[in-house]
């Protein structure tokens, strides 16, 4: 398929594909087996200028948009979404600053993130607050020129490895939905520490840790936007980041499909390559069709979002949800096509299947995505005066 990419977009795609092939594919099994954080690859991605694709040039980025970032994420995700999640999560951490931060915060942090010199992370989830973000308990209390944070964040991607954290905390519980605010917390801030690294089903190259705040004192200028905007910042950030998760799904699906087709052409049973069996062909046909459908959806939504339309929650949720479901299905079927070999760690598809599951859970579970789409439909149609009957 030709998606009519510009010269520059093709360059991004090629560069990310080269890094995926030369640096990620050969190391992914080892990173997975050892729960190893991919520092070497992060350095390579930094040197390749890929961390700043979506960041404006005035803050040291390449001045592209969500689409450019998706192109890179897709290629990396084709090799390993553990590595690609690490890369993409830095963007998730950067968006609150980029969208709502003061000029000072932007000038201070975005160039560091864009150059890849420092990784960012996004801290929202807590033990009692997953899908229901309003359940967070972490507090930030103003004390003169500082805020003092107390509480903890759970399962934070890049936790302990990143140096710049966008963190959501309650600033005024009495204000309900307008009582939370985002802050930048840096590694080394007094009272900020990390919990143990989590053991996971998949994306083991990605580090997931608890963030612990014990009378963590930060300058008041680290407030992102205004007090009380926290939940809006979170929602707008997810709108921007969800196409990236979808791109991970497209990459993973393509990676699994490539392996499955190549294998099916070579594996001989009953004296024929298994691809000659219609059952296998149909499986591959569905895998290929859904992968392409997911890609077409993500590309068109990412491009649409880069035109800065007003309300994107519905479409952002659609591409995340669809591409994640496709990735789970395609990788599961890739294991089936490879049979027992697919189940063995000697082949990369079992890892892809383990990895794919996270796409349906983080950045809002797929159920939550469907809730968002459903609620938006209800609103949209509620505004219509005409009837379709």
């Amino acid at each position: 398929m030709d998606y009519f990419l510009t010269e520059e977009q093709k360059m991004i795609q090629e560069l990310a594909a080269q890094i995926a092939a030369e640096k990620v594919r050969p190391t992914r099994a080892k990173l997975d087996e050892n729960d190893e954080f991919p520092w070497e690859i992060m350095k390579t991605l930094a040197q390749a200028d890929l961390f700043g694709l979506y960041i404006p040039e005035e803050y040291g980025g390449m001045g592209g948009g969500i689409f450019e970032n998706c192109l890179a994420v897709e290629q990396l995700g084709g090799a390993c979404i553990g590595v690609a999640t690490t890369f993409a999560a830095s963007g998730l951490g950067a968006y609150p600053i980029l969208l709502f931060g003061s000029e000072d915060l932007k000038h201070k942090y975005l160039p560091q993130i864009a150059s890849g010199k420092r990784l960012a992370a996004f801290g929202l989830t807590e033990p009692g607050a997953g899908s229901d973000v309003s359940g967070i308990k972490t507090t930030a209390v103003k004390d003169g020129d500082h805020y003092i944070l107390n509480g903890s964040k759970q399962w934070i991607t890049n936790g302990g490895e990143a140096e710049i954290y966008s963190v959501l905390a309650i600033t005024d519980r009495s204000k309900g939905a307008r009582g939370a605010s985002f802050f930048v917390v840096e590694t080394g801030d007094p009272g900020f520490s990390f919990g143990k690294k989590e053991k996971k089903l998949g994306i083991r190259a990605s580090a997931t840790r608890e963030l612990i705040f014990q009378d963590c004192r930060i300058p008041k200028e680290r407030l992102i936007g205004r007090e009380g905007m926290g939940f809006i910042v979170a929602m707008k950030t997810f709108d921007k980041s969800r196409p990236g998760i979808a791109a991970l799904g497209v990459g993973l699906s393509q990676g699994a499909l490539d392996l499955a087709v190549e294998y099916a052409r070579k594996r001989v049973q009953f004296e024929k390559p298994i691809i000659s069996f219609q059952a296998i062909q149909h499986k591959l046909a569905d895998m290929a069709t859904k992968t392409e459908a997911a890609r077409a959806l993500v590309y068109s939504i990412a491009r649409f979002m880069d035109s800065n339309p007003n309300d994107v929650s519905k479409v952002a949720a659609m591409c995340k949800m669809y591409a994640a479901d496709v990735a789970m299905e395609v990788s599961t079927n890739a294991v089936q096509v490879l049979g027992g070999y697919g189940y063995m760690q000697d082949y990369p598809v079992e890892k892809m299947m383990r990895d794919a599951k996270i796409l349906q859970i983080y950045e809002g579970t797929n159920e939550i995505q469907r809730n968002i789409i459903g609620q938006e439909l209800n609103k949209e149609y509620g505004r219509m005066k005409d009837t379709f009957f």
Binding site: E7, E8, M11, I12, L15, Q18, I19, E22, K23, T44, Q47, A48, D49, L50, L53, M62
Partner: protein, 263 residues
């Protein structure tokens, strides 16, 4: 500091075929790549640039398509590139190649260090580097695995030899040919790639280099390829194994059987 790196475009030897009749490389449909050792030379230059105030220029003699190879190295961070291309350069042997490259280095005027690969994977002679140094009348060292800048008027080169390592101090300007151990080539960067895409790459011909067309290309070559063939397979070989004593005994018996004179 100005560093010039000589790179050569070669057929991708990982998938070349040999024509069974003519025994020559089937070049058609074979992708061109940058000679792998020359990428190490580029990496060596960029490493110096990373830590010092240095400018890196790549130069290649080749057909117009070789511009792509030059742009690729600019994507890695090379500052400038020059293509040496002229109908008159066609058919160059190593001497004519070196003559042309040396003239280009002279024209640049301010080159302090010239880096080459240890050899080209197609021609494989490893002559071009040393020949250039001789033509330019500057010192050179081959098979270099590490380069340290000295006081500004000299460099230190660590050579890998079969016997071990040698540390050489060379006054600049100097020429070094490098090996793999100098460091894996880096990946390109998006900014450099975008700049490379737009970069104007000058093309210098014989006239620009002040070279007489009789001194370059086929006319300027002392050697000519008359015929290329794969040596016939020798079938009359046997392998003698065992301990040294056993091998000696078997060899002796074999020679006796074969009635080697004097045994």
């Amino acid at each position: 500091m100005h560093i010039a790196v000589c790179i050569k475009q070669v057929p991708d030897t990982r998938n070349v075929r040999i024509d069974p009749d003519t025994h020559t490389l089937v070049r058609q449909g074979v992708e061109s790549i940058i000679n792998p050792f020359d990428l190490f030379a580029v990496e060596a230059a960029l490493k110096i640039k990373d830590e010092n105030n240095a400018r890196v220029t790549v130069v290649t003699m080749g057909p117009p398509q070789a511009t792509e190879a030059l742009r690729d190295t600019m994507g890695l961070g090379v500052d400038d590139a020059v293509l040496l291309s002229d109908r008159a350069f066609a058919g160059s042997d190593t001497w004519a190649t070196s003559t042309t490259l040396a003239a280009a280095i002279k024209k640049m005027g301010d080159v302090d260090l010239i880096l080459c690969g240890k050899q080209a994977v197609d021609g494989d002679t490893a002559q071009v580097g040393p020949e250039m140094a001789a033509l330019l009348d500057i010192p050179y060292a081959t098979f270099v695995k590490k380069i340290d800048l000295g006081d500004g008027n000299s460099i230190r080169a660590i050579r890998q030899t079969d016997e071990g390592t040698e540390i050489w101090k060379l006054p600049t300007p100097a020429l070094l040919t490098v090996i793999k151990e100098i460091g894996e080539p880096r990946v390109p960067s998006l900014r450099f790639k975008m700049r490379a895409k737009k970069a104007e790459i000058p093309v210098w011909g014989a006239a620009d280099l002040g070279l007489d067309t009789n001194c370059v290309g086929l006319c300027g070559s002392f050697t000519q390829v008359v015929r290329i063939f794969s040596p016939p397979r020798r079938t009359d070989r046997i392998l003698i194994e065992g301990s040294v004593e056993e091998q000696a005994e078997r060899l002796f018996n074999y020679m006796k059987q074969s009635r080697v004179p004097g045994i």
